[in-house]
Structures are given as C-alpha cells and as structure tokens.
Symmetry: C2
Subunit: 407 residues, 2 copies
C-alpha cells in the first residue's frame, strides 16, 4: 500500500467530510455500532489470535489487549453516546459587525486529516474512529502491532459500515506496516495533526521528528504530594486508587512526595491498605505502569512543586491537604494540564470529565490541553462578508470600525 497516496486521498476526502451534515455523520455512527455487534464473533476470534501471540505480555498489557463482550458493549455504548452529543461543527463562536455591512463570523470546522498512533488497545481504534467521524475528520489509524488482527477486524467492519452510510472511502485508513509511520510523518501536506498515544520512546521520536503538529504525551508521570496539613485517612485510599486502580494507565500515580512531618507512617499505611503489593523505590522518576512507585520525602510544598515541574510530565498532579491556601498555591504553580486536590489522579480522563470520550490526553501547553474530546478535534475559520469594503477607507479616516458583537 502506498501510504503517501492514501494520505493525499484522505486529504481530498476531508473536504467532503467537512460538508457532511450532522444527520449523515450520526447515521454512519449508528451503522457502525450495529455492524460491530453483528460481526462480533469475527472480532473476538481475531482478538484470540492476538492474545495467543501475546501470551507473554505483562498482566496490565494483556488486559489492554483483550477485546471481549464487555469491551464491545463499552465501545458500542460509547458510539451511541457520541450520536447524542451536540454537533461540534458549524458552531458560531463569535459574530461581530466590524462596521456597517461588514460582518465577521468565526465558525468551527474539522481539522482535516488526523493521524493517530495508539497503543495495543483495540477499543481505542473504535473510540478514535467514532470521535473523528462525529467531528468530520478523516483519520489514519496505526495501532500497536500486538493488536494487529483485532485492529484489522475492527477496521474492516467500521470502514464498510461507514462507506455504506455515505462517508467517503478514505474517511478512515488503517496502517498495518510500522515502517509506513515514518513515511506518514513527512506527509505534512496531507496530514494536519498527529496524535501519538501511549508512553514510550517511539512516541517521543514522533514528537521530536515530525513536521506535522503533534498532540499528546510521551510520558504520564503523575505525582501525589501529601501536604503536612493532609488528612491521612483521606490520603491513603486516594494514593492506593491512583496507583492500583489501573496501573497501566497514563494517569496512574508514579511518584509520591510526602511532607517530612507526616512521612513517618504514611508509606506503611499505604502498603498495608493496598489490596495488591506495591513496591517502593527511591530516586527513580519514571513511568512504571505497574505496582511500583517512587517515594520521596520533601521539606515543603515549594520543594514538591519544584520537583513536579522539573521531573513530571505536565500530565496530572495532586495535592492532599486540608489547607485551602496550600491547595491554591499548588494549583496555581504546578505547570500541568491537571492540578488536583484530595482526589485520585485516575480522574484525568475525557469520559470522567463528561466529554463523552477522549482521543488522547495532551501534555503540551497549547490548547487543546489535558483530556481531548470532540472539542479538541475541531478548529475554526473566520468568515468575513462585506459589500465592497476596502481598507484604504479606514486607513485614511473616511470610515471607522464600530465592533458591534452580534453574538
């Protein structure tokens, strides 16, 4: 397959996607949900092939790879939820009369072609495709190779159902060849945005080499700082949840910073309270994705904040405290997409924020930042309508702007 050509084709199709009305996009989503249920046995069978080939994967990775009846129900429900969300396209964000008869309107429109490189989690393929259809974008999908059979089975069902419902043929393109990713990274004429998911060196490589804008995160090194004014009875379950509720997730806690005044018994209480065995390390600031965490004692909130801004990944960081001023200071100065107080870092997720679903979590500074749902998959254009208006009239004082907001 010539992926450069496929990307160029997707670019052309993206102009058509941008003109489809909400009803057509929602109908396509319904068709896809129905087709997934109708073809579920083929999909489960493909998944069994992947699971057999990945028999030596660590527990959390195998859990991600699995695509069973339960995961199918989840993704189908997710698609139905998407159809009920308001249309992100053609929204008027601003309408302003610059002068008599000269009206500026800012309306949302799709980004165009989005390339998503995602981990070996087949449900991600369905969620990403759904979000891109709803937002009028074409999508180029590259999933983890451990899930290749499942991805192919899911893609074939989604693609056939989407085209049947009236989407253009390159509304979605599946990339099965890892080497092709390098090729696609140079297609800046055709691909408008790359979203790499999952934390690893390959994602970092994409972020460092592609000329195409990249949205996402290489690492999810989330911290919890237990302040001296913490309620330890509240702290323990939050720490256990943040570490163990799904350790393979990017929003799981990796580093626990504890104020020296409360450090003495906290770790012991956490280890005692945890339903699984958590290993504790020191001076290793990395994403474990497992029942392992780094623990470090700090002298002050400021030291904790400095540590987080220096060693963290600007994803999600939490303070446990009963001191309102400490909470505010932490939230104002920690330079992360999510700054939390007295709750689990695992809440950092598009679904839990009420976005319907997410295409990824961005740790960049520019919007969209944090969990990105539909809102982050659209952009806007400025439409200006006049009746012969020229700038010379304003430059020479014959006319002047009155900037009257109409919305």
């Amino acid at each position: 397959m010539d992926y450069k050509k496929a990307a160029a084709h997707a670019k052309t199709d993206s102009f058509l996607m941008a003109t489809l009305d909400e009803a057509t996009r929602n109908r396509a989503l319904e068709e896809i949900a129905e087709a997934l249920e109708k073809n579920k046995e083929d999909i489960f069978s493909a998944n069994r092939e992947d699971l057999a080939a990945g028999a030596d994967l660590a527990g959390p990775l195998a859990a991600r790879l699995k695509f069973d009846e339960h995961k199918l129900e989840d993704v189908v429900r997710g698609i139905h939820d998407l159809t009920r969300l308001p249309d992100p396209l053609f929204r008027v964000q601003m309408k302003r009369e610059l002068d008599e008869g000269l009206v500026l309107t800012r309306t949302t429109c799709p980004i165009g072609v989005i390339g998503v490189v995602f981990e070996s989690r087949p449900d991600a393929l369905v969620q990403i495709s759904g979000l891109c259809i709803k937002s009028g974008n074409c999508v180029i999908l590259k999933g983890g190779s451990e899930a290749k059979h499942t991805n192919k089975a899911l893609f074939d069902v989604i693609h056939a159902a989407g085209v049947k419902a009236g989407l253009p043929s390159c509304f979605a393109v599946l990339v099965e060849d890892r080497a092709a990713v390098e090729e696609l990274l140079s297609c800046d004429e055709s691909i408008d945005l790359i979203i790499p998911r999952g934390g690893n060196a390959f994602v970092r490589h994409i972020m460092e080499t592609s000329k195409i804008p990249v949205m996402g995160h290489a690492d999810g090194i989330c911290h919890i700082y237990v302040d001296k004014a913490a309620d330890l009875a509240k702290a323990v379950p939050i720490i256990v949840d943040s570490k163990t509720q799904y350790p393979a997730a990017c929003n799981a806690m990796e580093t626990l910073l504890i104020h020296k005044d409360v450090a003495d018994d906290l770790v012991a209480r956490v280890l005692e309270a945890s339903p699984v065995e958590i290993q504790v390390r020191q001076d290793e600031y990395k994403e474990f994705l497992d029942y392992i965490m780094t623990v470090r004692r700090v002298d002050s909130l400021e030291e904790a904040v400095d540590h987080i801004n220096r060693y963290g990944s600007h994803h999600t960081d939490c303070i446990i405290t009963e001191d309102e001023a400490a909470c505010r200071r932490f939230m104002d100065t920690v330079d992360s997409a999510g700054v939390y107080c007295n709750c689990s870092t695992r809440f950092a997720d598009g679904f839990r924020y009420g976005f319907g679903a997410e295409v990824g979590i961005s740790t960049g500074k520019m919007p969209p930042r944090g969990p990105v749902g539909l809102e982050g998959l659209v952009t806007y254009k400025y439409r200006l309508k006049g009746n012969g208006h020229i700038v010379a009239d304003y430059a020479q004082g014959r006319r002047s702007f009155h900037f009257r907001d109409l919305k």
Copy 2:
C-alpha cells in the same frame, strides 16, 4: 550572552509572571508607555542609524523599518488600549460538578515563555511585548537585523520600565545575535511557543526544524477569485486595495483568479483604476510583497477553490460575487484561516477584527488560527477538587457521575 541560560531564567520567571494580578500587569504597561514617550528622541536617533544603514532597502521595506513620531503615537495608543482590554487570565471557561463534592474547573493561564522572531518593523517589538505582558507570558524577542539599533533602544526602555513596575527581570529577553536563534530552537524545556513572523526561508526553516510548537506562517499568498456573478464595479476597488494598500503585508493579494466569463476587461479596468503601476505575471504563484500580481483565468468556482487549496498558504482568500450560494460554497470549501466575500484581504488583521492588536497570523490548522491576539496567548489548566474521591467507586458502580454544569 548565554541564551540557553537566559531562556531557562525566563522559564523560572514565567511562574512568577503567572501569579501577577491584572493591576500589576496593567501598571507595567502604563509605565512602559510613559517611558517610551520620555525616551523617544533616543529611539528616533537609533532608528535614523538603522535607516541610514538600510538606505538601499525597497520602498515597502523601508516604510516598515521607519519608527517616527507617528509610529510612536500608534504603539503608545496600542499599549493604552491593551490596559483597557479585559484580563485574559484566571477566566473560568468551564465549571462542572462531576459528582457531589467533586468539582472540575477549567481556568485560563499563561502559556509560559514565548519566543517571537519578527521582521524589521520596530513597532512590532512594542506590540509583542505589550501583548505578552498583558497575558502574563515571558517573551524572547528577535527582530530583523535591519532594525537592530531601534530594537535595542526600544527594548532597553521597555525592560527598565517593566522591571521598575514589578515584573521579573527576564519578563523580556532581547536576542541580538542571529546565530543564537538556532540555539534557542533547541530550548524546548524552556520555551513553550515560537512565533515566527514575516514570510521568508528563515521562517520556514524554523517551522521545519524546531521541536518547540510553532505558530505562524511562512507565506502570505492570498487570492481573490472574481466569480462570473461578480459586480465588477465592486471588484475593481477591492482588488486594487488588496494589492496596493500595503503591498509589503502578508494579507496583500498575490494571485487574482478570474472566471472566464468576466476576464476580458477586468484586468484592464484594474490596471486603469490603480493609483500605482501593477505588473501582471502568469503562472508564478508566490508572495511578491510588491506591486506585482499573478493573474489566472479559471473555468469555474471549483477550479478556483482547487487552485487556492493547492497553491495558497491558507492565510486569507476572497470571492467577489453577488451569488449567495457561490459565496457559501467558496467559504465552506476553501481551507484557509480567513474566507472572505466582497471585501479586501487587507482586513485580515487582529486590530481590524477588534482584538486590540495581534502577535501574528497563524496559517496552521489548530487553534489559534488566523490573526492571534490576547486570546491566543493564553492556555488553560483543569483544576479538580474532591474530598477523598477515588475512581474505584465509579468503576465498581458504587457511585456515578452526574456532570452538572455550574457555569
């Protein structure tokens, strides 16, 4: 000067900038406006040095380089206008109770450290500094070398006044050494956003090589398409204005596409109506920045749109037509930040959109797109406050989200 160290220092100072209240930032702006007026003779004298050294510059470039009483008045008025604009920081964009006692708030915050590489237009240095102060960002400034004396004089005045008013010492850093730009492009730990301005190979080089997110445009190849349903009497002044009102600007028209049915006399009428001599070229799709334009005859609106999407720079493109359906089709399918009807492309400017001023015009697909004012210089973070909330309770069905918007 060690620019890597200066950038790191700016990064540290950016956390302080982010905590300054609106009154402090506005006071700094007022101090700067006052200091510019007080030191204007030094600035004019530095500008005369630059103008003497640039005696062989083309007319439009020399006009940009000049910094006289008139330009000073403009920038000082611009600063006063900025102080009256609403604070872009600490705005609550969203407030949602996810569940009882678990409240998510999205608030605006500065981006951090912004590097701006700009053309030889000294007024740009003042405008950019003002926008960055108002939005709580630190700024690293690299202006065109033709304006080096003027830039240094302006920077010294702005820096001293800003620090006197309470801004941290690296709220602004002036880069005087062009070679240092390469060094700064690798400071992705310290610099959050690069804004290159002016259309040239150097800007394209930045966009292609930096790991830091880039906002801007390499080219401003704007089109006007004169539809078969155009009112030619309206078309002529719009074309003349778009080409000649300020040909050195990125929003000046470079290519005129004319429907074959109206092509015969239009060019002659344009050339006759123009107060200056416009040269007409064919098959050369580039940014002339001069009284030169490409003219091309097309068979249909669709051919015009294809041409614009293929050869344009996604900046600003206009249709001249009295046909409402043609206007809509053009606006929906032209993939540019600005899509216009029956008005000059020269309106593509932050001031003319009512944004107060602009830091640049972005031709990327992701927001901020088009003219970028204060709104494009802030980002946001998600603040989540709970009272011991953990995800396991929701995953296991003991609790559920109710997503109640509080704003």
